[in-house]
């Protein structure tokens, strides 16, 4: 029975990160990349050259690490917007348009589960050439955009070429896969939070289109609605060209494109989790996240109606476990 609630791996939804691009965005004061404007205590993400033995130690403990001088994407170091425009072909790409610099992922499949869900981004289709023209016109008027395109690289689950623009933010969320994030041009700031910060980050219900995303706006937290945000603590680090960041599965991350690097190019590699972890007590924070996801899915399946989940959960817990 424990097995069904706490899988070591499996049970992932095969979401493809959404390729996206921002509409104009001109609020200078929100562009906080260079100062830590969060009232959240952060420690530095460990940073070691690829030959350092602590790299593998951290990865085997499922702790994040920035690996410097990696040649993981060495052949990509000459990629620029112009190079890509010439070499990426003339297929069309899904491009998401956002009214702000924030790109909050949502699941199309789950949209009908939430009444009157307003998608925060809008889907467009264009060729890379058109997209690049748009990027450059927007850049000239102080706006940002980002583009992501999925294809398949060897044995990986999926990977993603990200061509981002200054100031873009991917709000805090977790993924159900191991992630190697290789920076090629420009730099990006990462905020990471351990899976045990689940209760401080209030993820949306699993059936919500924003599943795996935090409900908390880290730049302007609502402490009344989400009081545990006061207990939040995490890691931060900046990755530049040649750096590779390991983001362990279920670790929360928020990503911001550095505003001073005009071209921002990254490659993301997602891997399925390794072999099933042995179940030992007490369970790890990761196993508890998997457990809560499974409970939420089972409840929705049994109740048959997303609108019945919240009343049921309240009945289960309020005044009984609170």
């Amino acid at each position: 029975m424990a097995r069904s609630l706490v899988p070591g791996s499996g049970e992932f939804e095969n979401w493809k990160p959404a390729p996206k691009m921002a509409a104009s965005y001109e609020n200078e004061s929100e562009n906080r990349f260079n100062g830590n404007s969060f009232s959240i205590p952060f420690q530095e993400i460990p940073r070691f050259p690829k030959s350092d033995k602590r790299v593998n130690e951290l990865i085997s403990c499922k702790e994040p690490v920035i690996v410097t001088g990696s040649d993981l994407v060495g052949s990509a170091s000459h990629w620029s917007l112009d190079y890509l425009a010439e070499n990426i072909g003339d297929g069309t790409f899904n491009v998401y348009k956002s009214a702000s610099r924030k790109f909050k992922y949502y699941s199309d499949k789950k949209m009908q589960a939430v009444h009157e869900f307003a998608p925060p981004t809008q889907l467009l289709e264009m060729r890379f050439q058109e997209f690049m023209k748009l990027i450059r016109s927007k850049t000239n008027t102080n706006s940002e955009s980002e583009q992501q395109q999925g294809n398949s690289w060897g044995q990986l689950t999926s990977n993603l070429l990200l061509v981002g623009m200054p100031g873009n933010v991917t709000p805090v969320h977790y993924d159900e896969q191991e992630n190697l994030f290789a920076q090629i041009r420009g730099s990006k700031r990462f905020l990471l939070f351990h899976p045990d910060q689940f209760e401080n980050l209030y993820p949306y219900p699993v059936h919500h289109p924003h599943d795996r995303q935090s409900q908390v706006d880290l730049e302007n937290p609502d402490y009344e609605q989400f009081p545990n945000v006061r207990n939040l603590h995490g890691y931060e680090g900046v990755v530049g060209p040649g750096d590779v960041l390991y983001i362990p599965m279920y670790w929360w991350h928020q990503v911001e494109s550095c505003p001073d690097s005009e071209e921002n190019i990254s490659v993301n590699f997602w891997y399925m989790a390794g072999s099933v972890e042995k179940i030992e007590h007490p369970l790890s924070a990761q196993q508890k996240v998997a457990m809560s996801r499974n409970i939420e899915k089972m409840c929705l399946e049994a109740l048959g109606d997303p609108s019945e989940v919240a009343p049921f959960m309240k009945m289960l817990v309020l005044g009984r476990y609170t």
Copy 2:
């Protein structure tokens, strides 16, 4: 998957209702049998002669009903304390002693799950003759007691001969079996609540020794801790000699021995639930109770430690489904 969370039947714990007997109890003002001293709206439990076709209609709809003039325990009508003392044999019985007139069931097996659980009753062993002597001495000094003895009658799951004393209260709880309650001597007042009153009655966690009992003291509810008690509504009815009350599975019930009948004798018949109900949406309140019990059991099994269940439940629900 729905199947595992919402069984139509099965998954019962084979608890034996505890035979019990009260120590002295002398607070006259708490003896509220004859007036409705509750601020809870009650309607009458339907009451029909056994030949009335509405009896079977109600039972097949799993609604409570008092059947009058039943000969279900006709041969028991001449049972009295003296008759039982002469005929019940000289085996020993488990007798529970309570410092009040209230007898709140608890599970021995679950006692280690709750730190410093103080059992509300104390276990003694005695022969029926001794017990009767004690009952009569206590009755003379305005105290109450109640005795229950389990044996096995035919194909039933279990049955119970209850020899109760005036004013005793079995606090509000639900059982995981269908129950026919036959009154032989004296009378008892029943308060019944539909299974959809779960959220208004705040049952203890499943791993708690008081599993299936409400945390709410109906005679003195703590509205701050249990605000939904304000929404509670139920049924009430009095059963006398020859009456049989059908208490459907998962229906909440509180039982009070009528203070004006010196000898109070009943026989309880518990049946396993019928064939597995078809699962149709929306689920019934009964199915949701079964679901919540299964979730609580799975969580305890997965977490491996009862003290981890409440923090996990809070993490799952607070700020996310509230």
